[in-house]
């Protein structure tokens, strides 16, 4: 029977890790090649600027290399690197703003239920009205309206495609907390973007 690519890839990866642990630099570089784009984007998304994202990218892979002997293959290599990168990124934010994480601004009713304030329809394909750079700026500024702990959950789950359990493991949160944060983050981002993308807005 033909082997499904996913399995082949996993086996290949565990071979690469073995080689890298044995000191084969080319094998480690191949692992870096696979995930560098994602880790850079993660850094951009959490820290919100290029310099920090570059630092996060370098630190994450340098530390991964350094700690490779400690890597146990009971989790994916990618998830492991993501955890290192997220820690680096959050540390950068803490250094940059000495303030503690502010609670997320959402409207709630007396039962603690999240209230939605904006019900407007969006224009079709709103992204097509903006140049790439402009769109990046819009998405980033919406994300910056969220506390780092919330936008990190959003990125890991919805952009990087980690499972709820993997996200919980990476961030040291309970599964319930991941779900609650994801829900609020999604609604809040939508609300921020609605200001720009809704029907009848100026652009």
């Amino acid at each position: 029977m033909a082997e499904i690519p996913q399995v082949a890839l996993a086996r290949d990866e565990s071979h690469l890790i073995g080689e890298a642990k044995a000191g084969n630099y080319a094998a480690f570089e191949e692992l870096v090649n696979r995930y560098e784009k994602k880790i850079y984007r993660l850094g951009m998304n959490i820290t919100g600027n290029r310099e920090d994202a570059e630092d996060v990218l370098q630190e994450a892979f340098l530390k991964a290399f350094e700690h490779l002997p400690d890597f146990r293959e009971d989790s994916r290599f990618y998830t492991w690197v993501v955890r290192i990168a997220v820690n680096e990124a959050l540390m950068k934010l803490r250094k940059r703003r000495s303030s503690r994480e502010v609670p997320m601004e959402t409207s709630e009713d007396e039962n603690g239920e999240v209230l939605v304030r904006e019900f407007a329809d969006w224009k079709p394909n709103p992204e097509q009205q903006f140049a790439q750079v402009e769109l990046e700026r819009i998405l980033q500024s919406a994300a910056n309206a969220l506390p780092p702990g919330f936008r990190t959950v959003f990125y890991l789950r919805d952009v990087e495609g980690l499972s709820t359990e993997e996200t919980a493991e990476v961030l040291d949160l309970t599964v319930g907390a991941v779900k609650a944060r994801l829900f609020r983050a999604r609604l809040r981002l939508r609300e921020e973007l609605s200001k720009i993308f809704k029907r009848g807005s100026i652009q």
């Binding site: 892979f61 290399f65 209230l115 019900f119 790439q132 990046e136 829900f183 609604l187």
Partner: protein, 78 residues
């Protein structure tokens, strides 16, 4: 189903975690409630926008510096 109940199931619905009965009730609500339909639709769109692979792509010079740093690290150890 009321709107606030529908909104509460937003995440579960997007993640395909609702049991069939609840999913059906919710979808019925979404067919006649323009408000909730707009919220669900634009939330899906929000996620799609952030998932766009072209965004925040790794610049060549950043990649080059990463690989140089890795090489330096490796040679420093030997």
């Amino acid at each position: 189903m009321k709107c606030n109940q529908a909104i509460k199931e937003l995440s579960g619905y997007l993640d395909g975690e609702l049991d069939p009965e609840l999913k059906q009730t919710l979808e019925a609500h979404l067919t006649y409630c323009n408000h909730c339909h707009a919220v669900f639709d634009s939330t899906k769109k929000t996620i799609e926008l952030y998932c766009d692979g072209k965004l925040f792509s790794l610049p060549d010079d950043v990649r080059t510096r990463l690989h140089e740093a890795l090489k330096r690290k490796l040679h420093g150890r030997r």
